[in-house]
Symmetry: C2
Subunit: 308 residues, 2 copies
């Protein structure tokens, strides 16, 4: 069974009844499961985490986008997070038995439908991007909903699908395939923020560090410590253990210990297995050697058989 | 969904048609899945690895035991491995959503049925043992099939279920709940076997090491290295990372590097997660934060719903 994950962002984080109506599009659908959802009133934004078989999942994502278009009016939307559409962004992440290439194809199929059937301009981002300046979501989002009425006229920002004009109430939407993003924070045994800043700088891509690491320094005042807070955008190529070891070594230079780390949210088994393999110096290991993964494979096959 | 694992051992490792007839008892049964099976002609013994929901699984194990009784005659059995019955041993291992206590209850239920319906004496072992001298399987096995005709008369070795006399062709069987056993080997960058012997001694329970570790030194002559070869009998209480770190430190004393390690066969996700958590210094993590485990939970619930 192929499994894809998606965590679409909707520009509504205050009126629960509206978020629930959007989520209702995913409920009870065969081969699509809701893992989690949350509303953030400050950002006025909600995130729904779904997993499912490829085709049923993009069907559900289309319906959710349509419902968000009907219920959210970007002209009156206020919130702290940069945003550009009622459905702001739809990532597609390969989880099991599916390649990145297949997820790119799915993102194009979904984007085309949103553009053509709903009249919402769609920008492909990350691995699906049609040009390098469109890979980074924050580059696409620049100017936000209000600025897009001008931005979209620039040939550089012609949408990949749908009309070359902003949908009056639903704005524009980004759709793209990407690797699973892991939020990984490392706590330092000091309250000196400048040390966390130097270490964040050492590991993050933008200032010369690991290619798939975004990092900032955070002051955890109530705990009296500082933190290197990271987004790991490709744990396969910039793995957790390597970044962690670099942070430990850099901290040592300042006589500061690493006192712990944390992973926020869900994480693919492969990311944790790679950590275990590195430290135990295991060369040859494979996710199919995990009992639970093997059972999952058997159950998925069983379900597939029953549903055909 | 509750999932239990079992790897029953049968005293036949040469005639494939007989092993296949025993395995056939497990095929196509709802909520029971065969993960693996293998025959060992030298030991004249086969092992079948099954997972399943508790009740269907013990039903299958009973049928396999019955079939082995019908097809295997211990009076003519020869093989290198110590053995005492056609079905030699049936372990029950908690894998998912089930406690050790529930597995102990299951082992008693299965043992009672084998004893009463098949007339085979059953000894409960490991966590299910009715006395401490019966916990260790090799203590029960001592004397093997041939010696049991005398041994069973000793009140200390009265079986837990079934008649106090050896089944004439099927011998006696051990049934018990235990933790998952992990075969874990650590390779040393030397060919000096005495160093592997000293380190094996340092970590194994019997000579003062970790409570749930059995270890021997192995000479891998073709590779020109030596190995500490271990059975980890309770990875929850004597975890892989702690034993690995001890081995690394002891090897250092002799100026010998650890050059790799390996895990043989399947492993529960929890064992690997604990390794990752230790090295990344993550305090608070839980198997439900793994995407694949969450999907497994959802699929299992779905199947349960459909089958009720």
């Amino acid at each position: 069974m192929k499994i894809v994950e998606s965590a679409p962002n909707f520009s509504e984080g205050r009126r629960e009844e509206i978020v629930r109506e959007i989520i209702a599009q995913a409920e009870g659908v065969k081969e699509v499961w809701i893992l989690d959802w949350s509303m953030d009133p400050d950002h006025n934004r909600s995130v729904v985490t779904l997993v499912g078989a490829p085709e049923p999942l993009i069907e559900v994502l289309f319906k959710m986008t349509k419902k968000a278009m009907e219920l959210i009016d970007m002209r009156v939307h206020k919130g702290e997070h940069p945003r550009m559409g009622a459905t702001d962004v739809i990532p597609l992440v390969p989880v099991m038995n599916i390649t990145m290439e297949e997820c790119i194809e799915l993102s194009k199929k979904l984007g085309k439908r949103i553009g053509e059937d709903l009249g919402i301009p769609v920008f492909l981002y990350e691995k699906s991007a049609s040009a390098s300046h469109r890979e980074n979501l924050s580059e696409i989002r620049k100017g936000e909903f209000e600025g897009f009425f001008e931005k979209i006229k620039d040939p550089l920002w012609k949408p990949d699908f749908g009309p070359a004009q902003v949908h009056p109430t639903a704005g524009v939407t980004a759709v793209g395939a990407r690797e699973y993003l892991i939020a990984f924070n490392v706590n330092l045994g000091t309250n000196r923020i400048e040390i966390a800043e130097k270490i964040a700088k050492a590991v993050r891509h933008i200032s010369g560090g690991y290619r798939y690491v975004k990092a900032i320094a955070v002051d955890l005042k109530e705990k009296g410590i500082v933190q290197v807070s990271m987004n790991m955008t490709n744990y396969k190529k910039s793995p957790l253990f390597r970044v962690f070891e670099t942070i430990k070594r850099e901290a040592e230079r300042y006589g500061v210990p690493v006192i712990g780390s944390e992973i926020i949210g869900m994480v693919p088994i492969q990311a944790m297995l790679e950590v275990a393999q590195f430290y135990l110096q295991i060369d040859d290991f494979n996710v199919n050697r995990i009992i639970e993964t093997k059972i999952l494979e058997i159950l998925a096959k069983k379900l597939e058989g029953e549903e055909k």
